[in-house]
Assembly symmetry: C2
Homo-oligomer: 252 residues x 2
């Protein structure tokens, strides 16, 4: 039972390390960049390659963890393999792998950073496969690294990916905007860190709509007007403040 | 050394409980609503009152933790007391307490929920007072419940409060919008919870601008176009998606 890992970025690294820790052999790590391939290969006792022609044909799973727009070309180079060919993209349909007898998707719903070790055992993984047999193999393999497995088809996965943009990418950007407001007033981001943690913690066992606080949900027009005035130097922040507040008021 | 607590909402409750735990006596808990006053008074071994005329005149601190628009009227009823009169509002100037010899502000930068016990020892508290002497008293008292004390004037505090709206209230609303997208596709909010936690964790020892991920920061127009199409049922979500993505692209 061995996996070939195609890619050496954040997702490839976190998955390869997790599989290796679970006792699954990573036969090869491919990257366009040999230095990157070697770096990850070293971490998972594997062999680095930078030539797709050199991919081991006998692996039971090929894990394509590359940028969305590179999946198709990497997959094309794997043509003819018997193993399960899997990509890890939230935004890409399983259709991109339709040339393969056994194909699937293993999408971890998490945000990965280089250099930060993450416990994946509770990370939700969205699984899809082109046959019941392929699904069983995929599920068995994924269960080695996580207990939060969900059967999710390509359409649902696209929706999930979109929801993740709101919950993660956009939230992080709001943290950044908050920091620009602080920095302009000689205040440290440290002041907001406990608040940010608690905001995320509150929705771990409740729904966000039930724990919404702030001037918009209480229809506190006076505070909102003060805030708009404070933002007079930035029409962009004013506009975001107004549209997000309007959206919150609708939920009240 | 005893405190009179004016208010019985989330902030009043969390602060009164923390002070009591730190060994400081809560002489009285006042609320317009006697049932609420009694509830909190019971929790902190105090005496409930619903008549501002019955406030103990000899307390060393009066903690006004009521809604912003009620601070002025509660303060008016305390006229003549010698103790330190303090409010807990982020959005309200210390000027509202200018009739008092000793006044201050004790603003906890945190989101409080009823029924959820919070460790306040690392919660940032923003302190302001109308004199050096009053500041010393306030600082000494606040140090009993938190080690993260910051001297912040009224103008800075307003800015902080605004930044907190972005980091907390708006983020929570984005969690909610993400959940509406999931719900419309029969997907559970559970799928997003680990991602939300990790997004908040990532900025605990880094700056958000350094850990931004997602299609906007990579200028992935194809994914963004797909997302806009997926949101075709909701012009409001489309507009938010576009303005937040535009704002992220500017930071890249």
């Amino acid at each position: 039972m061995k996996i070939v890992c195609l890619g050496s970025g954040n997702v490839a690294t976190h998955l390869a390390v997790a599989f290796r820790k679970a006792g699954i052999e990573i036969a090869q790590v491919w990257s366009r960049n040999m230095v990157h391939a070697a770096e990850l290969a070293t971490a998972v006792d594997s062999t680095p390659i930078d030539d797709l022609g050199a991919v081991d044909q006998s692996a039971y799973m090929y894990l394509i963890a590359v940028k969305d727009d590179a999946i198709e070309s990497v997959a094309a180079a794997l043509k003819g393999v018997n193993g399960l060919v899997v990509h890890t993209s939230g935004a890409t349909s399983i259709e991109v792998l339709k040339e393969f007898k056994n194909s699937g998707v293993l999408y971890p719903l998490q945000t990965f950073s280089k250099g930060k070790v993450l416990d994946l055992t509770k990370c939700p993984f969205c699984l899809e496969a082109n046959s019941a047999a392929a699904y069983l193999i995929l599920e068995k393999t994924a269960s080695a690294i996580s207990s939060a497995l969900h059967k999710v088809d390509s359409a649902q996965r696209k929706t999930l990916h979109l929801a993740a943009v709101f919950a993660c990418n956009f939230s992080n950007h709001l943290y950044h905007l908050a920091n620009t407001i602080l920095a302009a007033n000689n205040l440290q981001f440290d002041l907001l860190r406990p608040l940010i943690m608690e905001t995320a913690l509150k929705v771990q066992d409740d729904l966000p709509v039930r724990v919404q606080t702030g001037p918009a949900i209480r229809n506190d027009e006076s505070t909102m007007n003060d805030h708009i005035k404070l933002l007079s130097g930035s029409p962009e922040l004013q506009e975001l403040y107004e549209s997000l507040s309007k959206s919150i008021k609708k939920t009240g």
